[in-house]
């Protein structure tokens, strides 16, 4: 039905365009008028249209406000309430200004359309008036700035010491959360340690050893391959392989440059063992959380509209946002009478082909439910079987292609 309507509108529009171009021909044939002399009828018509448009514009605006003005469910975070209040305040001001200014513009235009027997007033300036309308926006802006900055200051201040820290990690095209586990310390992580089963690149002594060994293995295999096939390989191919070896060596060097740190008396290389990696973001209600964002490839943005929160994720530069969730998912479902409702974190910085589908479910629950959920999660290093297996690399003999880098090899293996 809607589609039919739209098609109808389109057809009418096309016809209208054609008809209107014919108007051109007509007006040429009544050629005793000049284009630059706007007839009284035309002046009046356009003046009236200004009024008609104003009314339509205002009604349209009001309809939109009424129908869509309730733009989001109530804020589910503490600062969100302040943000919404500030928003309401600002919207009131700009809406009033919108109606006043547009109203004045269209009504004045209507009222003073051209009449031959009248002369415009020769009015150059009026210092008192101009002073007044510099002062009014000045004062309004002062209020808006002060109110805005107070709200901003509150929401961006440092997180309290007992805030729950959670890492939120973005890559094309999904989100992952990391909880620090019992020890309360995040294991050290580095992008050089990333494999398909270690999205964060968490460093543990075992992982490090596996990584280094596998790179060593790849290097010597590639070298052996070149040695063996020298006669058959083109110079370019050899160059490519040597470049790969160089890169693997650099990779290894960067790994060896990583140092172990101490945090709260815990080695950051062992702290990672009990970290919890999750594909959902669970938050305990009423507890301040500090979300720490990182990205591994391009910019993304963690947008949490229900919490009135957003922060870009930047490769190489961790960013933060603190907030205190105040309404559990369950409560919100009841409030909205929508049993399927879920909070959501969506990506809001264009990041590639499926940017429009890069999201993570957010669950706000009671502290007990949260604790239980955390308990049920697998730890990064399973307690029973500590040693990760050594990944086998694709054999260069079987394929003509170059050996894969350790990271890709592990991807292939999973």
């Amino acid at each position: 039905m809607l589609n039919l309507l739209i098609i109808l509108v389109l057809v009418l529009a096309v016809i209208a365009v054609f008809q209107l171009t014919r108007v051109y021909e007509y007006s040429r044939s009544i050629r005793n008028t000049r284009e630059e002399e706007i007839s009284h009828a035309d002046n009046k018509l356009n003046a009236w249209l200004m009024l008609v448009w104003m009314v339509a514009f205002f009604i349209g605006t009001i309809v939109l406000y009424v129908k869509y003005g309730n733009y989001l469910p109530p804020p589910a975070s503490e600062h969100g309430v302040n943000v919404d209040n500030l928003m309401a305040f600002n919207i009131w001001i700009i809406t009033i200004a919108f109606f006043l200014m547009n109203g004045a513009l269209f009504i004045i235009t209507y009222k003073f359309y051209y009449r031959k027997d009248r002369k415009a007033r020769f009015h150059l300036h009026d210092n008192r008036l101009e002073m007044l309308w510099t002062m009014i926006p000045g004062v309004l802006m002062a209020v808006i700035i002060i109110y805005g900055l107070i709200t901003w200051g509150k929401m961006t201040g440092p997180a309290s010491a007992d805030a729950l820290k959670i890492e939120v990690y973005s890559k094309q095209f999904d989100w992952t959360a990391r909880y620090s586990g019992k020890d309360g310390v995040f294991g050290a992580a580095n992008f050089n340690m990333i494999t398909s089963d270690n999205i964060f690149g968490i460093i543990t002594p075992d992982r490090m050893k596996v990584m280094l060994d596998s790179i060593d293995g790849d290097i010597s295999e590639t070298e052996a391959y070149i040695e063996r096939e020298k006669a058959l390989l083109s110079d370019e191919k050899i160059e490519v392989l040597e470049d790969q070896i160089y890169r693997m060596k650099r990779h290894k060097q960067r790994l060896m440059d990583l140092d172990e740190d101490q945090l709260n008396g815990i080695s950051t290389w062992t702290a990672g063992a009990d970290d919890v990696i999750a594909k959902e973001l669970h938050l305990p209600v009423g507890q301040e959380v500090e979300l720490i964002f990182t990205s591994r490839d391009v910019l993304h943005s963690a947008y949490l509209p229900h919490f009135r929160a957003q922060m870009n994720t930047v490769p190489g530069v961790p960013t933060r946002f603190k907030m205190k969730p105040t309404i559990t998912t369950e409560e919100m479902r009841q409030e909205l009478k929508d049993p399927a409702f879920d909070y959501i974190l969506l990506c809001n910085k264009v990041c590639g082909a499926t940017h429009y589908n890069m999201k993570m479910k957010v669950i706000v629950e009671s502290p007990e439910a949260y604790a239980k959920w955390l308990e049920s999660q697998k730890l990064f290093v399973p307690v029973e079987a500590p040693a990760a297996e050594v990944p086998a690399t694709a054999s260069p003999d079987t394929t003509a292609s170059a050996p894969a880098s350790p990271a890709t090899a592990m991807v292939v293996n999973r």
Binding site: E35, L45, Y68, H123, I145, P305, V317, A340, L346, A407
Partner: protein, 594 residues
């Protein structure tokens, strides 16, 4: 036009026998260059509008098959008539790039600075006709490269017109970051060269070549606006070049200005220490002044047209000039309002909130002055006037939502949503475009010696106004509900579905609005050849361009240059019989200048 050539020979020796090439192609005459800019910009505008209509089809009727998409874009980009998501991003990016840079920067300034600066200050031509010509041909070249990038195998640049790295730096990150992005960057470097050549020329011309009596305080507001615009461009575009060159180096030479700790394509990259935020600072140091580079000429044009057609002096000329200067200055210290959610220090954010909201004051002054100029005027509803009045409405409407975006605490929730798209389209996509269209209708007689059809102009205005608001006004609500921009579809998010029924309505307005531009195209091209012949001063205007012959030759005035005795806004001056007093009319005994 030969007669114009013969009669003045003071200092102009280079225009005896013009070949077709030197007259129409490599012309050094500012008026011809202006027309070249305009026609190129119209052509680019048609492309950009078409692109927007194409991707609006996807947004309005997600997943539905459209034969036209497949026919225009082929199987790779629109298999089965459904736009692919990569193609969607490419179209959005090139649409935005063309609109901002090619239509509203090169096109708007190029057309009207070239046409109006020499004519309104009483100069024979730009300070350097040769540089002026080069500036057009650089613009042309960069336009060709940008359009050509649409046809690249891997697709055009797709990271948005702001091309933030690392996305734009890593060909592995998306297909559009391959050759398409390289072409985008090259095109942009050439574009900036064009802008700089042009801008320097405008500044030098305005400072040095004003005719006798044309004091700075008597300049029409168009020239003031174009002057400040040129200064903004000359100060900010070089920063874009360095920003772009660093990006080219990151892409091609293994540097790491913008890159750090990146793992992509199954490998960690050997880059550390760069910062993607550096790019954003550099980009927006240009990017924010850029939006005023787009807007100020439109404001200048509309001031002139409103005063002329209200038959009333512009209200508060000094305040208008002061506001232009204040906006120009402030526009350099507000760029950070694009970066509130990048992790920038919140205190720095506060500073930008403060400076940004300050701009509201001179902007409000301008809006009040426009409205007061209309008040008690005698308003002639020419098409140019209608578009100028439309500009005031859109400038006010779009400016007000800027207050929300400037407030960092609020921006957090609407940043990069359709609210932003609504805001910048109403100020740039409507206000600045209205200014440009107003200028075309108003100065067409000067450019082509003929009149455009007025009735078609009315229809064009009303359809454009209604459709423009029909497209962009509902977007505020789509955005406040949480719909991010640069999304190919919203199907994945149940909480956004309730605003999705606005999408087909928006798209319908977009299609009708796009078609309405055919009226303009028809009117424009038809009138160039068949329009009514124009009189010398069709609008009863005071400024100097209307004292030239209908079709001024090279050198503009046959004989001596006009001498200026008064400001440009003596409309309905009670001391004079006529309701306008051209700037060349000497003061009467006892009359004092304003």
């Amino acid at each position: 036009m030969a007669h114009a050539h013969d009669t003045h020979h003071d200092g102009h020796a280079h225009h005896h026998k013009e070949s077709w090439i030197s007259k129409y192609v490599f012309s050094q005459d500012h008026k011809m260059i202006s027309k070249q800019f305009l026609v190129t910009a119209i052509f680019m505008g048609v492309i950009a509008v078409t692109l927007s209509v194409l991707f609006r089809l996807q947004l309005g009727w997600n997943g539905q098959s459209f034969g036209i998409l497949n026919a225009l874009l082929g199987d790779r980009w629109a298999p089965n008539g459904v736009l692919s998501s990569n193609a969607y991003l490419a179209l959005v990016t090139i649409h935005g790039t063309i609109m901002v840079f090619f239509v509203l920067t090169g096109g708007l300034s190029g057309t009207f600075a070239n046409l109006l600066i020499p004519l309104q200050i009483g100069a024979r031509d730009m300070a350097s006709g040769f540089l002026n010509m080069l500036s057009y041909w650089f613009f042309f070249t960069s336009s060709v490269i940008m359009v050509a990038s649409l046809f690249v195998e891997t697709g055009a640049a797709s990271g948005g017109w702001t091309i933030y790295p690392p996305l734009s730096a890593l060909p592995d990150a998306m297909p559009g970051s391959g050759l398409g992005m390289t072409l985008w960057l090259i095109s942009m470097v050439i574009f900036v060269a064009s802008s700089l050549l042009a801008g320097l020329n405008y500044i030098v011309t305005i400072i040095n070549l004003r005719t006798k009596g044309m004091k700075m305080t008597r300049l029409p507001l168009t020239v003031w606006a174009l002057f400040v615009t040129a200064i903004l461009g000359v100060l900010s575009f070089p920063v874009l070049v360095s920003c772009v060159v660093l990006l080219l180096m990151d892409r091609g030479f293994g540097t790491a200005f913008y890159l750090s700790d990146i793992y992509i394509g199954g490998q960690p990259l050997d880059v550390t220490g760069g910062s993607p935020l550096l790019f954003q600072h550099l980009f927006w140091f240009l990017g924010h002044p850029e939006v005023y580079i787009v807007l100020l000429p439109a404001l200048g044009i509309s001031s002139e047209i409103i005063s002329t057609n209200a038959r009333k002096p512009i209200f508060g000329y000094k305040a208008m000039v002061g506001s232009i200067l204040a906006i120009g200055f402030l526009s350099f210290i507000v760029w950070g309002h694009h970066m509130y959610v990048t992790g920038m220090n919140p205190f720095l954010g506060s500073v930008f909130v403060f400076t940004t909201l300050l701009i509201a004051i001179p902007s409000a002054v301008k809006a009040f002055n426009y409205i007061t100029t209309l008040y008690q005027g005698n308003i002639r509803m020419t098409p140019g006037m209608l578009f100028s009045i439309g500009l005031v409405s859109t400038f006010v409407t779009g400016g007000l939502t800027g207050i929300i975006l400037a407030d960092s605490a609020l921006d957090v929730n609407v940043h990069d949503t359709y609210f932003v798209v609504a805001h910048f389209h109403i100020v740039m996509g409507m206000s600045a475009i209205f200014g440009m269209l107003a200028g075309v209708y108003h100065w067409f007689p000067k450019m082509y010696g003929r009149m455009m059809n007025t009735k078609l102009g009315f229809a064009h205005f009303w359809l454009t106004l209604v459709c423009g608001f029909g497209v962009f006004f509902p977007m505020h609500f789509v955005g406040m509900a949480g719909s991010p921009r640069r999304y190919y579809a919203y199907t994945e998010f149940p909480f956004l579905q309730w605003v999705e029924d606005l999408q087909p309505i928006i798209s319908t307005f977009a299609i009708v609005g796009g078609l309405a531009q055919l009226l303009f195209l028809f009117n424009f091209f038809h009138s160039i050849w068949f329009g009514q012949k124009a009189p010398a001063n069709p609008w009863g205007s005071n400024t100097l361009e209307w004292t030239t012959p209908v079709k001024p030759g090279h050198g503009n005035w046959p004989g001596a240059l006009p001498e200026v005795h008064r400001w440009a806004y003596d409309y309905s001056n009670p001391e004079h019989e006529e309701d306008f007093v051209p700037q060349t009319v000497p003061l009467k005994a006892g009359e004092h200048a304003h």
